[in-house]
Symmetry: C2
Subunit: 355 residues, 2 copies
DNA sequence: GCGCACATTTGAACCGGTTCAAGGAATGTC
DNA sequence: GACATTCCTTGAACCGGTTCAAATGTGCGC
């Protein structure tokens, strides 16, 4: 039905007995065409089954596509399955809605190999969701000479336009919040996939390749230091952000003689699994144990108790990135936004018995 | 930095001292160009800051864009926030990954008004995620003379290529499952936004404008009828799929003298809220109350207990839709897929005391 | 030295529209 | 009736490439 329909504007014009220029005007500025002619052209179009000017032809002339692309080094499903990506995308999508722009999503890697897609995406600019392969992604993108903005870029060594977040300061606030509530025995739930040590020392933690993890860990330690707690005395358990490893980590942490009363989780997902474990193991949140997450995904606001967390400014990140691409606002090489702490129900005063 | 760079292939060719045709070949079929010439052209390109052939120019010639669009009548955020849409999109994305195709998402409505976007999306074809505005969406799409497939279309009256699911039969299976486990007092949790009656009669339920709700309700009743349970005797509570209304519905249902032992929820989201309520109100799942969801979203498999549900064949829906668009396989006007029941931990035998 | 096969390169014709200066017809004015 | 206006329409240039038949050059065998 919708097969190759070689009807061009030219043909419509010929059938209607007008020049191609006039036919073009019928579709783009109908008000300047005399009504009788306009109707003749429209009739011809209908008769020939002409679906309107081809976008590519128009595009060639116009130059602007009016769509932005979001690229990542993960498969396309990442955009809909990963919680952080999803939340970030919702914010970006809201921004595009506002501006009436289209949104293309692009996977720069296909089955583990760099894919051609980033070179061929029809967009006016790209937002890069950098997880691990940030630098490679940026390299690919630079070739295209399109405006782009990197979000979540870890490597501060790369000099590319990007908007980042102050992980270190956010983590510090989270730790100071627990300290201010009287907590002194506080554990950290890390995110990473390297399992070098069961109880890594601070030095081992800092050896991770993930800058995010390093920054957040350092921020936690800095916050705890204000209460005189040394980094080496803070139990640190690594997880891969799945329920199984989080539960395992919690079991280890709470098997201690004097278990923690506060937990600092490096992501909301981990925090939610931790709360699940606590509830399932007879501890009340926040009466017995307080938990602070990180990221501020919507799911965290929706649970019982609602999660106290370090909120990423998704909407502002999105606004800046989209603005930079559609509006052409230059972005400083590395803009860093502060992270507010959002206090909700999952944190409370340290149990009295522990004072 | 990435400003208007009016460097065209033509310019590169001139600087390199070759014809434009040869320059074109350097980028597209480098193997047929003599090495020395190739290097000369590449050098010229680098010198001029030429980012490679413009996509629009190429496109004009090639015709294929190698991307599909997914459109809906909701704002763009719908794709990342609605659970059904998200799951469907993940499946579609996986399919696109396989085929190496790009993916554009399109909102056909902007602030409640039909938007231009669906006319201007650069795609080879469209998948329509029809929620409520299905017919309008289809109308807009037909104008474009592009291949398209409607998913989730309710109105069987519309004669458009689409893939649907057998809601009625899925619901019937869910009901028969509870019946087979010995349940006899079974309640239905509906989804809808019409609050005509607190305890709607079957006739009132069928008056809903949502075909999905009608089909699922009829399926439930048909399944219960096999145990001699009349539709009029099945408590039906409507919700808007938010925690608040689901909890209110559960309160009403379980305030009865002889409360239900089985709950049929028209969506997994509703089912999960229902389980949350049950747990919070001293009922064990599935020992005291069994719950069956509908849709098969991933979150349902991940909770405790895992949710028994009617599984939508997301992957197959996606495969058919994407195949139809990229592969040009014609799709019958209305293909309907069966829905399997997935039995997990949230259903069990009716409590003995109730037998 | 000649003819032929092969490897490259060229030039021109598209791809499908948009735009704008310039031309022409109808209307209005004096 | 001459001239100025106003309103439409036309024709041609242009957007940035791709493609392919034909032209050019090159090397080789005899």
């Amino acid at each position: 039905m919708t097969q190759d329909n070689p009807v061009r504007l030219r043909d419509v014009a010929r059938v209607a007995g007008v020049s191609q220029g006039t036919a073009s005007n019928v579709f783009n500025r109908p008000e300047i065409v005399r009504q009788e002619v306009r109707e003749r052209v429209e009739a011809a179009a209908k008769e020939l089954g002409y679906a309107g000017p081809s976008l590519t032809g128009r595009l060639l002339r116009a130059g602007k596509i009016n769509a932005i692309g979001v690229a990542t080094a993960e498969p396309l499903t990442y955009f809909f399955e990963d919680q952080w990506a999803r939340t970030m995308m919702a914010a970006i999508a809201a921004e595009c809605d506002k501006q009436g722009a289209g949104l293309s999503i692009v996977s720069a890697m296909n089955r583990g190999r760099p894919a051609w897609n980033i070179q061929s995406a029809l967009v006016d600019g790209l937002i890069l969701l950098c997880a691990e392969e940030g630098p490679a992604l940026i390299g690919q993108t630079e070739k295209r000479e399109l405006p782009f903005v990197a979000l979540g870029l870890e490597e501060s060594t790369i000099d590319a336009p990007g908007v980042g977040i102050d992980n270190r300061d956010g983590a510090r606030q989270a730790a100071e919040h627990l300290v201010a509530l009287g907590h002194r025995r506080i554990a950290i739930l890390g995110i990473g996939e390297s399992w070098n040590a069961l109880w890594p020392t601070p030095e081992e933690v800092l050896a991770t390749p993930y800058l995010t993890v390093r920054d957040r860990a350092e921020g936690y330690w800095a916050g705890l230091a204000t209460a005189g707690i040394a980094a080496a005395d803070v139990p640190y358990a690594d997880t891969d952000a799945e329920r199984e490893t989080v539960w395992a980590a919690m079991s280890r942490l709470f098997a201690a003689e004097r278990p923690p009363t506060g937990v600092l989780a490096m992501s909301d997902r981990v925090a939610l699994f931790a709360i699940e474990w606590l509830k399932g193991n007879g501890r009340r949140v926040p009466e017995d144990v307080s938990v602070v997450g990180f990221d501020g995904i919507p799911e965290g606001a929706d649970t019982l108790p609602a999660l106290t967390t370090v909120q990423q400014p998704f909407q502002e990140l999105a606004a800046r990135a989209v603005g930079a691409i559609l509006g052409g606002e230059e972005i400083a090489a590395r803009t860093v936004l502060p992270l507010p702490l959002v206090v909700r129900g999952s944190t409370g005063p340290a149990p009295k018995s522990e004072l």
